[in-house]
């Protein structure tokens, strides 16, 4: 056994849905506005104001829940989760308690690096709720205040809660990456942790054996992780901290209240945090200002059909139908639907899946990164790439010069023919090639001797010379012919 314990992790992800307006009012949800410029009587919670549910928020939430394989109940309702905090102006958050809009789903994860076995991670529930505002520390003339900005109050959030099925920090990171990929394919969120449109809290404890007994450490909630990498690091730290703590105190699950700890990125540790409500008595009651929402089975089916191919399915197809390596399939899918469509279009034309995959995942991707463009913006259509690949297959240009041709086609916006012409690439016919090879054989008796003596790789030296004499030779053909000729000597 590697670790003396099993790490048990559950994740709680808050996703800001990509609506134009807030969940219960018409204020904009645009990021980066001046404080308190995107509020109205409703989201400020002024007396007498009432919420009305944003249709698009519900649709995006529903789409996501279905893509996460959740059960969608026939009706759902909203509840008031009551607690006091300055960034929560009504004194309650409109959320969902006992009849959430979706439950009991799953997300499959697998690690291309093989750090863990493919696993199905359960989703306990996904529900729709409003976000709170922000508070920042404000120190003026020695008086310590918090300054409250309500711009974010009322923004629609989908809260996704996983089962505690994750068994390692690495798997947790992969889960988040896979979830984010799914959400971007569905176009339901920007998923930008820096802008706060995706937030993660983790629950972690350890299961271990002592004196033949199976026991568990107290569950700790970790907050304040600002990237997927931070999540992994925080969980790695926390797991070993909990183990040390258990060795010292022997404290088990149920013997201590659930702790909340905050991740300190700079120090690389978690610290105890004061929880917001001393007793988490949220005194839920059904929100009397909102009426229930009913969703028919037909609607659910219709949405399921319209989801389009999702990352997991796409990956499998690329591996099984196009015979790509899992790693390459992953790289393609991770870049998003548009790039996969591009790749597909190339393959449709040139029928060379693996070669197309190499070109797209290496050359095309590199160009996109360097030029900071999306695939839609790159002035190099799938047809042109397919043409280039086709030309390679036909031997119209050597593989060694293909990247030069590509660069010229892209950089100077030339056609394939123009680029080939500009680079003086000519097909080298067989007789010329044989003649050239014979010349090299004649002038390199030592190489021939080595080859005849069993060292086939010595022929490599001749390839370099051949290319110097004629850059248009195909190195593969040169090798074959030279070896043949050397054998005949």
């Amino acid at each position: 056994m590697s670790d003396p314990y099993t790490t048990v992790i559950g994740l709680e992800v808050h996703v800001q849905l990509a609506t134009r307006s807030k969940l219960f009012c018409g204020c904009s949800t645009q990021f980066g506005a001046e404080p308190n410029t995107q509020t109205c009587p409703v989201c400020i919670g002024m007396p007498g104001t009432l919420p009305v549910l944003n249709r698009r928020a519900y649709e995006l939430a529903l789409k996501t829940a279905i893509a996460l394989n959740c059960n969608i109940p026939e009706t759902t309702k909203w509840d008031c989760k009551q607690y006091y905090y300055p960034d929560l102006p009504k004194g309650y958050q409109i959320s969902q308690y006992d009849l959430p809009m979706s439950a009991d789903g799953f997300l499959d994860i697998s690690d291309p690096q093989g750090q863990f076995e493919p696993q199905r991670i359960g989703i306990i529930r996904a529900h729709l709720e409003e976000d709170a505002g922000k508070s920042i520390h404000d120190e003026v003339a020695g008086r310590a205040d918090s300054e409250i900005d309500l711009n974010r109050t009322g923004t629609p959030l989908l809260e996704i809660v996983s089962q505690p099925d994750l068994r390692s920090p690495a798997a947790s990171r992969v889960f988040l990456q896979e979830l984010k990929l799914l959400l971007s394919y569905l176009e339901v969120s920007d998923c930008n942790m820096q802008e706060g449109s995706l937030r993660v809290d983790a629950n972690i404890n350890l299961h271990l054996e002592a004196d033949g007994q199976r026991l568990a450490t107290p569950i700790v909630e970790i907050k304040n992780m600002n990237s997927f990498r931070a999540v992994q690091r925080a969980l790695e730290y926390e797991a070993s901290r909990q183990y040390r703590a258990w060795q010292e105190t022997g404290q088990q699950l149920g013997q201590a209240p659930k702790q909340t700890r905050g991740w300190d990125e700079a120090a690389g540790i978690t610290r105890p945090q004061r929880s917001k409500e001393e007793s988490s008595d949220y005194r839920y009651l059904p929100d009397p200002d909102l009426v229930p929402v009913a969703t028919s089975r037909e609607q659910v089916e219709q949405i399921r059909q319209s989801l389009g191919e999702l990352p997991a399915t796409l990956r499998t197809r690329l591996i099984e139908e196009d015979h790509l390596k899992p790693y390459d399939a992953g790289v393609l899918v991770n870049q998003g639907r548009a790039l996969v469509d591009y790749y597909r279009a190339v393959v449709t034309k040139c029928k060379q899946a693996k070669i197309a995959a190499n070109w797209v995942t290496q050359d095309i991707l590199r160009e996109l990164k360097e030029r900071d463009l999306t695939i839609a913006q790159l002035p190099f259509s799938a047809d042109r790439l397919a043409e280039l690949i086709g030309a390679l297959q036909q031997g119209l240009l050597p593989s060694t010069r293909a990247h030069e041709v590509f660069a010229l086609m892209l950089g100077d916006n030339l056609t394939l023919t123009e680029a080939i012409g500009r680079l003086d690439i000519e097909q080298v016919d067989d007789s010329a090639l044989i003649a050239l090879c014979q010349e090299l054989i004649d002038s390199n008796p030592k190489v021939v001797a080595d080859v005849q003596g069993g060292k086939q790789q010595a022929i490599g030296a001749l390839i370099g010379q051949a290319r110097k004499k004629n850059p248009n030779v195909d190195p593969g053909r040169v090798r074959t012919i030279c070896l043949e000729l050397a054998g005949k000597c």
Binding site: L50, P86, D289
Partner: protein, 511 residues
Amino acid sequence: MSLTKLSAHELKQLLETGQVSSVEVTQALLDRIRSANDSLGAFLHVDAEGTLARAADIDRRRQAGDLLGPLAGLPVAVKDVLCDQDGPTTCASQMLESFRPPYDATVVARLKEADAILIGRTNMDEFAMGGSTENSAFQVTRNPWDRSRTPGGSSGGAAACVAADMAPLSVGTDTGGSIRQPAGLCGVVGMKPTYGRVSRYGLVAFASSLDQAGPLTRTTRDAALLLETIAGHDPRDATSLDLPVPSYSRSIEQPLHGLRLGIVREHFAAGLDEQVESAVRQAVEVYRSLGATIQEISLPHSKYAVATYYVIAPSEASSNLARYDGVHYGHRTDETKLQAELRSERQQYQAAGNQRGLGQLDNSLVRMYRRSRAEGFGPEVKRRIMLGTYVLSAGYYDAYYLKALKVRRLIRQDFDAAFEKVDLIAGPVTPTAAFKLGEMVDDPLAMYLVDLYTVSANLAGLPSISLPCGFSREGLPIGLQLQAAPLQEERLLRGAHMFEQATEWHTRRPD
């Protein structure tokens, strides 16, 4: 005859035929308010200048031949619980004493669109919690029929101002009887529509599933006119009904032929004053003489109505009033005193070596909330918040709140069954006539029990109206309550109008 004695319908005719100007009407009422409000305390706030300016503007537009709204030039008083962006909306609470909403309640907006003259803001029980208007943080309202008595509540000011000729029309709100009970005790007409018939946007919430705004007037026809102006779907209120509003003032003249009137066996039990019972029974006989058939019906769960109400309403109130925390609007405690208080407590604990006390000491924010709310709210509001918080807290939800929601459904089912057999239900509004000021301030439960006839309509979401049907030996008004099935406002108004036409109770005035 003095303009202040005329009904809104009569005033409307005079205004429309140019026999009288809106400025004249408004001035007459302002004069009346000036002379009577000091002793009656019906109005919290009157803006004489602004009101007259608006009246002058209506007169000018009428002269110019402009198209005017259905209430053009008619003064309307509004209970200080409906937000109006032209001034403070206080809910008779220190918590909102200087609150100025940047929006109009939909009801207020509709009154303005109808070209009504909003003549003033009326006194009420704080946050609409109470049955006597004694819970107002600012002033007492007295019953115009006997100034040593309450006008009822929580729309006490709205009822008193109409009864005392200070306004022909007023708008109140009713959560457990707060329009109908003061209407009954002040001898005016007061109506609560079907839940969802009138928008709640901008109605400062007490109990969201029970609150409704409605008219208080001297005649049923005026109630019809006011109701049809404020009723209707509002996209800003998800609980408002998307159904057309009938022309109540047109259909009201048609009497109900073959009316089946039900009287509730459980209403005529101990606790009902014999004078009230007598007046109500005589009223029922009037209906019989008008051709109605009378049936005794049973609403078996009515004895649980008050208990059900006093679980649900405080629960919703505790949630609705959580927003009053002194952070974004409303009263905030003096922060310097707050810090001094905490410092002093900290020192005391330290001196006594009380570690536990120190550990449990409120932080500044928590203490700010606690002091602000303690200072901003009166005792009844605190009581209901405490009750609601308790009832919803962990461990009690099922036994109290959930249970009450189930009994609520049974109460509603009782009515559904009853309305299969009868068209309208008649009965008392209150168990007694107006009670003395101060009589029930120390007995909250006794005060709650005054609501026993009115709360069921709120719980079931039904429309209900109170109209004058007699007087006690002391000269105090007695009200008759009529209840109808959901969305049967027309039937309710026609039934009430029939009675009004056949009697003269509504013509009497306090002296």
